[in-house]
């Protein structure tokens, strides 16, 4: 029911490492968090394109699919499948369809939360 314990260990270690690198980028460079998100997504597409994403995902499971790299890997997989299926048009249709679940969830939940909650003063 809960899967193999090793899966959790690898997810934890790989996911943690992915985040640790991002923290190094935040602390040691002038990159803003938004730029780091963009870099990670594009990195995910790149990993998917060169065929490294799937083996990584088989090994690390959610350790690689839950970070934003997974979003990019998903896009790459969607594009590849759509191009194989329907030719060049798949380059445009595949990416967003593969990422549609997460995107739609973020937008819908985001809007609902914004309707029902109010912004709070931010602590510095």
């Amino acid at each position: 029911m809960f899967g193999a314990p090793l899966d959790y260990l690898f997810a934890f270690l790989v996911g943690g490492t992915v985040c640790l690198f991002a923290q190094l980028l935040i602390d040691l460079t002038k990159l803003t968090p938004a730029r780091i998100l963009v870099i990670y997504v594009v990195l995910g597409v790149f990993l998917g394109a060169v065929g490294l994403f799937e083996p990584l995902a088989d090994f690390a499971g959610c350790g690689i699919t839950v970070p934003l790299v997974g979003f990019g890997g998903n896009v790459a997989r969607g594009v590849r499948e759509s191009v194989s299926e329907s030719g060049l048009i798949g380059a445009l249709t595949g990416g967003l369809s593969a990422a549609s679940g997460g995107t739609a969830a973020a937008l819908c939940f985001g809007y609902l939360v914004a309707l029902f909650c109010n912004a709070r003063p931010k602590r510095p």
């Binding site: 029911m1 809960f2 899967g3 899966d7 959790y8 997810a11 934890f12 996911g15 943690g16 490492t17 985040c19 640790l20 690198f21 991002a22 923290q23 980028l25 935040i26 602390d27 968090p33 938004a34 780091i36 998100l37 963009v38 997504v41 597409v45 790149f46 394109a49 499971g61 959610c62 699919t65 839950v66 970070p67 934003l68 997974g70 979003f71 990019g72 896009v75 594009v79 590849r80 194989s84 030719g87 798949g90 380059a91 595949g94 990416g95 990422a99 997460g102 995107t103 969830a105 973020a106 937008l107 939940f109 985001g110 809007y111 939360v113 914004a114 309707l115 029902f116 109010n118 931010k122």
Partner: protein, 148 residues
Amino acid sequence: MNFDRRRYLDRVKERERRSPLFKNCFFAFTFGGGICALGQLLLSLYLYAGLSERDAGTLVTVTLIFLSAVLTGVGAFDNVARVAGAGTLVPVTGFANAVVSPALDCKSEGLVMGVGAKIFAIAGPVLLFATLSGAVYGVVYYVVGLFL
């Protein structure tokens, strides 16, 4: 006090609050790893419930996004993120927070041009560059496929 530019910048650097690198990295690693392990738990449960591998994966993402959206709404996300740093930023939780947070902040500007537009403030670039690099990959993949 009369400062020239160089000395002023030195002074600024000296007084800057240095973020403790080791501590930040430790928390980024543990929180980030923890969120991924939580994802793994959800994935196992969804697979056990009989979902296909792909649907289960999507549902994990959706669940984590839902949790972060709610936590952002009640104001708890920022408190965690202040400690966790990249540990909550890099998993989909950070993407969800980046969608909800500007939407909340701009509620006073209206529900269409305020929330509706600002909801894309950070999600927009992420989606744009994901789509763009995906499309480039698609074209390359198609062209390469023609010759193989």
